[in-house]
Assembly symmetry: C2
């Protein structure tokens, strides 16, 4: 049994890294810059260099390390092959092999949102469960599905793309993915701004948000302050997300939904709006699913990446 | 390595049974009546008796048999516990234990639709794949999800309840499950009759279906004969089902969709309508999923049940 494992969470701006004991104790975490120029050719060497440096600094022999798990912002299949990571400039590449060669240790890569779900199952809000759906509400809507303790990668690494389930037919604006009417267009921070902007334009009713620059935080603050129009929009948001989660439940029947991302600070009101729309629309066998907030915050990715590596050992 | 395995598919009227070699060769199949009276107390003893009789008849020693797999029309969790099978009169019961005790051999039970999907993966339309979604369009809409070669049972055995994903908000009639706007209300045989009846009532346009007693077969025959109103309804059907499958794809990202059930005789026109609505609504990473018709017909259940037992050995 090896003693240590690294968890790496690659984002578009920074790479978050963690040194763990294999029981999940986080010994140290740090960040390096994500150098996305030149099609992101430096990213993996930078990660390998930083891990080597940490080993020297801590006087840890490579033989004591199980390996490194990696979360990538793009579709990753079960073999560790990334199928384009637009934010990193990457095309198709097998991370397990590439980074494994650079590091001389075992590597296991997965999609970042999927990996974060694994982290929450291991040491966060979904501890003790093995059938988990995590939804991350941030600039976009990310998702991770865990069935019987394992990430659902899918055939091309697009498993758990919860943000892109179709929830509305008459949408005129396009989603980032090119489709129209994706959940992300209403349940992300930008989605909420879209809904609120439309609401303000549709009526003359008063709102503390008129004339303000909108973002997710400003919006949820207005909801908590009791702004009527903002409350109506939060119901709309809850309808999209609650019905979307109900559909997901009828497909994978999770024990627990974990909600993470920027909105988790406004967690209680978000959860209330979601559950109100979840219950009447879900198959009766799925009504008892729990709802909980993510508890690892930005560290979910490094925890989950470490766990991914451990599970593949 | 044992030589034989039984596959059992319990329906509300008959129990289909098959004797297989473990490589999937079907040696013999037969049926017995499903005695649902007295809360279905006779069903498992009848099955056990029929299997014992077959062993004697074929002069097969129990030691040569790997066991019996069983498909049940109700939610079955990963441990083989049925959570109510209304059509059989069953409440909560562990089939693996109950039938295992009666038979003195290993038993593995699963939901019938899930098990049929496994059968299609093993010896039917989805051979060679390991990420499979099967949709059965019959009186209801059943579904089975296979991820990485394994059935997705879910926390309470309600995994793959594709018929009960919410696809329409303004439905006034209730689905059999009690909810409103389930996929089954539009994509099953009764759902198609519902859509066609509404269409005929909404217009005076001519149709060969006016005044006829409607059912799935009559409807699809009219579509193939070029009846305009029936064709419009088949588009509507395709919109519900195609968008529903697109949502499922963004969640589990299958390699292949298998369509089975009564409509499969009208397969080509059904598939065309479904794909037309699938492609514009699915996440781009899932666009290459194949579509195929189920090929085992009513035998899918016994094949899948046999495979379920083999996989759990």
């Amino acid at each position: 049994m090896k003693k240590y494992v690294f968890g790496v969470d690659i984002g578009g701006t920074t790479v978050k890294m963690g040194l763990f004991e294999v029981d999940g104790t986080l010994l140290e975490k740090w960040e390096i810059k994500t150098r996305t120029e030149d099609h992101g050719i430096n990213i993996l060497p930078d990660i390998a260099g930083s891990i080597q440096k940490k080993l020297q600094e801590k006087k840890i022999a490579k033989e004591e390390v199980a390996g490194a798990g990696v979360g990538v912002p793009g579709p990753v299949d079960v073999s560790g092959t990334v199928h384009k990571a637009v934010n990193l400039g990457w095309d198709i590449m097998n991370i397990n092999e590439e980074l494994g060669r650079l590091l001389g240790m075992k590597v296991a890569a997965g999609n970042d949102a999927n990996v974060a779900a694994l982290g929450e199952m291991w040491k966060g809000g979904a501890q003790g469960h093995k059938d988990v759906v995590m939804v991350t509400l941030g600039t976009g809507v990310g998702g991770g599905i865990i069935v019987d303790g394992k990430i659902v990668c899918g055939a091309t690494g697009a498993g758990g793309e919860i943000g892109h389930i179709h929830v509305r037919d008459d949408e005129v604006e396009a989603c980032g993915c090119g489709n129209h009417g994706c959940l992300e267009q209403y349940a992300s921070a930008t989605g909420i701004v879209r809904l609120m902007t439309r609401k303000l334009e549709s009526t003359d009713a008063p709102s503390c948000l008129r004339g303000k620059e909108l973002n997710g935080k400003v919006f949820w603050d207005a909801v908590e302050a009791g702004d009527e129009l903002a409350k109506e929009v939060s119901e709309e948001f809850g309808a999209y997300l609650g019905k979307g989660l109900a559909v997901i439940a009828s497909i994978v029947n999770p024990e627990i939904f974990i909600i993470g991302g920027g909105v988790s600070k406004s967690g209680p009101v978000v959860m209330e709006n979601v559950r109100k729309n979840y219950l009447p629309n879900v198959f009766h066998g799925c009504r008892d699913a729990e709802f909980a907030l993510a508890s690892l915050g930005n560290d979910g990715g490094i925890y989950g990446a470490a766990k991914l590596l451990i599970d593949q050992n």
